[in-house]
């Protein structure tokens, strides 16, 4: 047996596919639509959420026995906001360039409903170590979808990946553009992110019938 027991391992692997926060629980859709026009933004957001969710889950879990249930949502919100502001301040002082990249994500992290969802559904009822694993697992599940959507939107919408022109130059007409290919600007708009997420959900459910709900 390794570092993690089977049960612990499941906390990390479940959210990656069969209990994915975006495609199965349909949480965190807003940020998944907003920032996936570029692969780089998807990756930065994923790392930021991974950090906040891992740490936040632990903090909430440690406080779980003293939080009054009437104001627990407000307490959760304060914990997320405080963590994000602390990170933002420290980065501004010691890694200014990095903070410039991250500053636009701050608002999106605080309002990310996956974070609140995991606090509410998991950290309030489980110990710190389990909560930490759950936070990491869900953040990774979120990251997987963000990166897939970001990959297709940037590739089909701008013809680039991480800013590198992989399909040739659309204005100089080199690469595939020489054969009449055009970028689909519609991919850069939010509706196409929703459709891309929809296609992922479709593929996932057609491969695993246990995920299909009975009506």
């Amino acid at each position: 047996m390794g570092l993690l027991s089977k049960k612990d391992l499941k906390l990390i692997t479940d959210p990656l596919a069969d209990n994915n926060p975006i495609t199965i629980q349909v949480l965190g859709i807003c940020s998944a639509l907003a920032i996936t026009a570029e692969l780089k933004a998807s990756i930065v957001m994923s790392v930021a959420v991974l950090f906040v969710m891992g740490l936040g889950n632990v903090v909430i879990s440690l406080m779980r026995n003293i939080i009054p249930s009437k104001i627990r949502i407000i307490v959760q919100l304060i914990v997320v906001a405080t963590l994000v502001i602390i990170v933002d301040l420290v980065l501004k002082a010691f890694a200014y360039e990095l903070s410039k990249t991250l500053s636009v994500f701050v608002g999106l992290i605080i309002t990310n409903c996956i974070i609140m969802g995991r606090f509410e559904a998991f950290a309030l009822a489980n110990g710190p170590w389990k909560s930490f694993l759950d936070g990491i697992g869900n953040a990774l599940g979120y990251a997987v979808i963000l990166v897939i959507v970001g990959f297709f939107r940037e590739l089909l919408g701008s013809g680039t990946l991480l800013g590198i022109k992989v399909l040739g130059d659309p204005i100089e007409k080199t690469g595939v553009y020489a054969y009449g290919y055009e970028n689909n600007g519609f991919m850069l708009l939010a509706p196409m992110a929703l459709i891309t997420v929809g296609i992922i959900i479709w593929v996932q459910r057609s491969r695993n019938e246990a995920l299909i709900e009975d009506n």
Partner: protein, 248 residues
């Protein structure tokens, strides 16, 4: 130890305690890091101004400022004069770059206040450029930038930045492919001020025509682009009385 976490008294005490702890923590952190953050902002301003006039370490497609360690020296070397323009007067002031545009524009709403306009005069390889700071509104938050003009009022370089435009869309105003389009654009049509529009129906995507007063917009960031064009129009116009005296 069984505590009644449901009682109203406990709830109020918990809330008060939490607010005090979090408030104190953040206030302490913010005030102890204040000087460092202010210093970083000052360095950034110098880097941005130098970037606009072409002093940077860009390679083919990246945006690289002069490094933090030498920015102070480079700033003193290339920026020959810093002016503060108020009405018809232009006075030299070595701290003009520290003027807060946001505060100035708020104060200017008061009728009695004569707005101070900072202007930086740079000299690179014998060619003078006049760097105008601008500030406006994007989609979500503030956008700002520095526009370097020559004495014919042709744009020599720009730097744009933003507080919170959408990543991957509006945030692209600080990317090379967008900023470089401004180089060589004219802002004056004879004696008439035109500014530079950010145009969606631009028939000149390769940006060959430099006197069409437009650059190509970014797909998916219409409001940011419109805000940027409005910012250029509004702020450059304030400097016109002074800038027009340059080529006479």
């Amino acid at each position: 130890m069984a505590k009644n976490t449901e009682s109203n008294v406990y709830t109020v005490l918990f809330a008060t305690g939490m607010v005090l702890v979090v408030g104190a923590l953040l206030a302490f952190l913010a005030s102890s890091l204040k000087d460092k953050i202010a210093e970083n902002k000052r360095i950034e301003k110098q880097q941005n101004i130098l970037y606009a006039m072409g002093i940077n370490e860009n390679d083919e497609s990246s945006v690289e400022f002069v490094s933090k360690n030498i920015v102070g020296e480079e700033f003193n070397k290339y920026i020959t004069k810093q002016l503060v323009i108020t009405g018809a007067n232009a006075v030299e002031n070595d701290e003009a770059y520290l003027i807060d545009l946001k505060k100035e524009s708020a104060l200017a709403k008061n009728n009695n206040y004569q707005r101070r306009l900072p202007l930086f005069v740079g000299n690179k390889d014998g060619k003078e450029s006049y760097i105008v700071p601008v500030r406006g509104k994007g989609l979500w938050d503030a956008i700002w930038g520095y526009i370097a003009l020559d004495n014919q009022l042709v744009i020599q370089g720009v730097y744009f930045d933003h507080a919170g435009e959408t990543p991957g869309l509006g945030s692209n105003i600080k990317e090379r492919f967008f900023m470089d389009d401004f180089i060589g654009e004219h802002i004056m049509d004879g004696d008439t001020f035109k500014g530079v529009a950010v145009s969606k129906s631009n028939a000149d995507p390769k940006n060959i025509r430099k006197t069409d007063f437009a650059v190509d917009a970014i797909s998916g960031s219409t409001i940011t682009g419109d805000g940027l064009a409005a910012m250029l129009k509004k702020d450059l116009r304030m400097y016109l009385p002074y800038l027009k005296t340059l080529n006479q």
